[in-house]
């Protein structure tokens, strides 16, 4: 994958001849290389212009007006979204959430993040593109990413020096593992599996080599806390990975960084180089004989499903990011079939703190079943969007108050795959006992239409399904189509019950968490915000999905007409 990316960065796209050449170079069947290239949104096997502008299309970007801005940009460039300009200069399209929800609307220009888009920036950007000014010469201010840390606790306030956590304990892998187990640390990527047990299972699995993998794919819309950790506390994260390596006996680690965070690649590499120079990575770390460990950064290429740990491992191996069959689990057969620990960025950062300060200290923070702190990525209708670090157990209402939210209608906790919390539930707590979260916290005030929120999420899942299994590949698209049908005013009660039926197939038969959770936002909003759906239903029992007037849209476009007479009489 890194070869594909570097080649594309140099040549602009991956032509059939380029793919043949790469396949020869790596000794893979050509079709397998083409299959990998075709899987990821950020690889193109067709020329897409020397400038490629991708608008982040999370619901938070939409709330900040990204659609109008994108239309304006397209008008200025004489373009249609998704199409390359006639002269091959530029294309403009949408992409899944780029993790900049606290400073949207955001775009990626040739895979470099630009945030806080507004009409002036759109106009200037269009001029720069038309004048063919290289992206490297664009105003540096545009590429400045804010951290927006609003509340810091043990992780974000950490001021340890690199290496401190590694030196803190007696040099004994078992002792380190015991501290992690004692701390009660649970995974921060969503599932909440006990980190100590995972590490122990990996250490005990038969195998001559072991791997430590840090999951920095952060694809869940509305989540951006790993980005801030990797910006502010990269050393702590790498230190946590090194602690894990020591505990399980691994010699090699990978950080899987989502393609949207391409701009972090060089800074992270330089942190790694500094650590190598300081003897904190490489051979005989801290002078301990045989404690060899090094870390490489692997850049993803736009595929949410690669956050799923086994898909992530496939992707690390250069393949299509498809979740594996389990068992076996990664702790026994992971990267290259070897025992592998996969943890979230925040989990590793916490592990480093625990190694330094002890499991008992950590256990004293948070609640009984949820030790420690949790980073929340707060976005949407709040006065102060950004990162909030709280001890576990904080209520939704407290977070809303701190972030300056008023007239709040709902909060989507943990992203589209999480839960939609209505105002009568704001007393509930962020903790594994109550509402677990991977970190997203998207706030919607009373002016927002919760149907459109759910529709945005349905589009997200349909776009991101890997396509491996039937229920998710076809089912997420059926759900999206049903939401579009309802949204366009052609829906009926029958379509709502259809949503329930398809959802049950997904929940029962899908292969991985993506398919299992894809129906959540729909089911949650139908239950809690039913009027938002019913307002849109026609009173009929059945309405054909085929829209006669809609079918004339192409003809209207070709003739440049959109007046009343160009529409069917009966269309509202």
């Amino acid at each position: 994958m890194q070869i594909l990316r570097e080649t594309q960065e140099a040549l602009g796209w991956l032509s059939p001849e380029t793919i043949t050449a790469i396949a020869k170079g790596v000794g893979w069947p050509r079709a397998k290389v083409e299959g990998t290239a075709g899987f990821y949104s950020f690889f193109h096997t067709q020329p897409l212009g020397r400038y490629r502008v991708l608008w982040s299309d999370n619901v938070t970007d939409r709330m900040l007006g990204n659609r109008d801005l994108m239309q304006a940009m397209c008008r200025k460039l004489w373009l249609e979204p998704g199409r390359v300009s006639e002269d091959g200069l530029v294309s403009v399209d949408t992409t899944s959430c780029t993790g900049m929800c606290d400073q949207g609307p955001a775009v990626l220009v040739n895979y470099r993040a630009v945030t806080r888009m507004n009409p002036e920036r759109v106009a200037q950007m269009a001029d720069l593109i038309r004048a063919e000014v290289p992206v490297a010469e664009w105003p540096a201010e545009w590429f400045r990413i804010q951290d927006n840390v609003r509340r810091a606790d043990i992780l974000l306030n950490n001021a340890m020096k690199p290496g401190e956590a590694l030196q803190a304990r007696t040099p004994d892998p078992t002792a380190v593992l015991d501290e992690i187990k004692k701390s009660g640390l649970r995974g921060r990527g969503g599932a909440g599996f006990a980190a100590g047990l995972k590490w122990e299972a990996c250490r005990d699995a038969p195998g001559d080599e072991r791997y430590v993998v840090c999951n920095a794919d952060e694809g869940e819309p509305g989540t951006f806390k790993d980005r801030v950790l990797l910006t502010r506390q990269a050393d702590l994260v790498f230190e946590g990975m090194t602690v894990a390596a020591y505990a399980i006996g691994a010699r090699k680690g990978y950080l899987y960084l989502r393609g949207e965070y391409r701009y972090l690649l060089e800074p992270l590499k330089s942190v790694l180089a500094t650590r190598r120079d300081a003897g904190l990575l490489g051979a005989d770390i801290l002078g301990r004989r045989g404690f060899d460990f090094d870390i490489e950064v692997h850049l993803g290429a736009g595929a949410y499903v690669c956050g799923e740990e086994s898909a992530l491992i496939e992707s690390l191996e250069g393949k299509r990011g498809v979740p594996r069959n389990r068992p076996p689990y990664p702790v026994t057969a992971g990267f290259l079939g070897k025992p592998t620990v996969v943890n979230n960025v925040e989990t590793f950062a916490a592990a480093a703190l625990i190694a330094a300060k002890g499991g008992d200290w950590y256990r004293g923070i948070g609640t009984a079943k949820s030790a420690g702190t949790k980073l929340l990525s707060v976005s949407g209708d709040v006065a102060r969007p950004g990162i909030y670090e709280y001890p576990f157990g904080v209520t939704i209402a407290d977070v809303l108050a701190d972030a300056g939210a008023v007239e709040t209608q709902a909060v989507q906790v943990s992203g589209p795959s999480g839960i939609c919390v209505a105002d009568n539930e704001f007393g509930r707590r962020i903790a594994f006992e109550d509402i677990p979260t991977a970190g997203a916290f998207m706030v919607f005030d009373r002016s927002r239409d919760m149907f459109e929120v759910a529709r945005n999420f349905a589009q997200f899942f349909a776009h991101e399904s890997c396509g491996f299994c039937t229920p998710c590949r076809v089912g997420t698209t059926i759900l999206k189509n049903l939401m579009d049908k309802i949204g366009d005013g052609h829906g009926t009660q029958a379509d709502i019950s259809e949503i329930f039926q398809v959802s049950r197939v997904l929940q029962m038969a899908a292969h991985c968490g993506l398919g299992h959770t894809a129906p959540h936002p729909l089911l949650d909003t139908i239950e809690k915000f039913r009027p938002a759906y019913e307002r849109r239903l026609k009173s009929l029992d059945f309405e054909p999905a085929f829209d006669l007037d809609g079918a004339l849209a192409q003809a209207r476009q070709m003739t440049g007409r959109d007046d009343l007479a160009a529409h069917l009489e009966n269309a509202e």
Binding site: E17, G38, F39, S465, T470, R473, N481, R504
Partner: protein, 244 residues
């Protein structure tokens, strides 16, 4: 480890390393499936074989059997879901059985009948998928591809050729062939390949061999697929002959 588990109340023995589905088939219990093939490692993508194991959904073709499991398969709830999966596959591609050379030998069609699929139910996607007729002896009609990857596995594992692979993601996932031109004629595919005979539906077809066996006399015309479980039994020395 060998032992037994119960399947719909019936005691099923299993041998070491067997999956729930292999054990069920070996015991003569039919299990709906499309991506499973007795001669290949299980794949777990079509999800037709979904069962409930100790009350929780599981993919039976990839789940190792274990002693004491309580497994449900042939229940109204589960068959309902299987029916819907078939319907999903029918609308995802372009399946016009009456004009398909595979009709009567097609597993998708046979399972549709077996599970009582009366209509495709969902709105058709009508995807635009081309036909590849470039090869002198073989035809690829992608309209009917259900993405079970059997041809991919056969070409890689048995033929050692890697003629087929997948590209795209989600709804855009599609079968590709191993050639810069994208044409089957420019690969080393041969009609004698294992990959030429494994397709459960009507994608990979031999040219000039149409309708050799008349419709009405074909495999699943004669007997429903559910009564032909011996065709799918795991390949062990004892069962090998039965599976041609």
């Amino acid at each position: 480890m060998s032992g037994t588990f119960t399947l719909d109340g019936r005691e099923i023995p299993f041998e070491p390393g067997q999956t729930v589905m292999q054990a069920a088939l070996a015991a003569g219990v039919f299990v709906p499936h499309l991506c499973y093939h007795p001669e290949f490692r299980p794949h777990g993508s079509c999800k037709l074989c979904t069962m409930k194991v100790n009350g929780r959904p599981a993919t039976s073709c990839t789940l190792p059997a274990a002693t004491g499991m309580e497994v449900e398969s042939d229940t109204a709830e589960i068959n309902d879901k299987r029916r819907m999966l078939i319907q999903m596959l029918l609308v995802e591609g372009n399946h016009f059985c009456p004009s398909c050379e595979k009709s009567g030998n097609c597993k998708l069609q046979a399972l549709g009948y077996a599970l009582g699929v009366m209509t495709p139910h969902f709105t058709h996607f009508f995807p635009d998928r081309p036909v590849d007729a470039s090869h002198p002896d073989m035809l690829l009609d992608f309209n009917r591809c259900i993405l079970c990857e059997l041809c991919i596995r056969a070409s890689a594992e048995v033929d050692q050729k890697n003629v087929f692979a997948l590209s795209g993601r989600g709804m855009k996932k599609h079968l590709i062939v191993n050639a810069e031109s994208g044409r089957l004629a420019d690969t080393d595919f041969a009609p004698t390949d294992k990959a030429a005979e494994v397709c459960p539906v009507g994608v990979i077809l031999r040219k000039r061999r149409g309708f050799a066996v008349p419709i009405g006399k074909r495999t699943y015309d004669l007997k429903p697929i559910t009564e032909q479980v011996e065709r799918f039994m795991p390949v062990t020395p004892a069962t090998k002959e039965k599976v041609r």
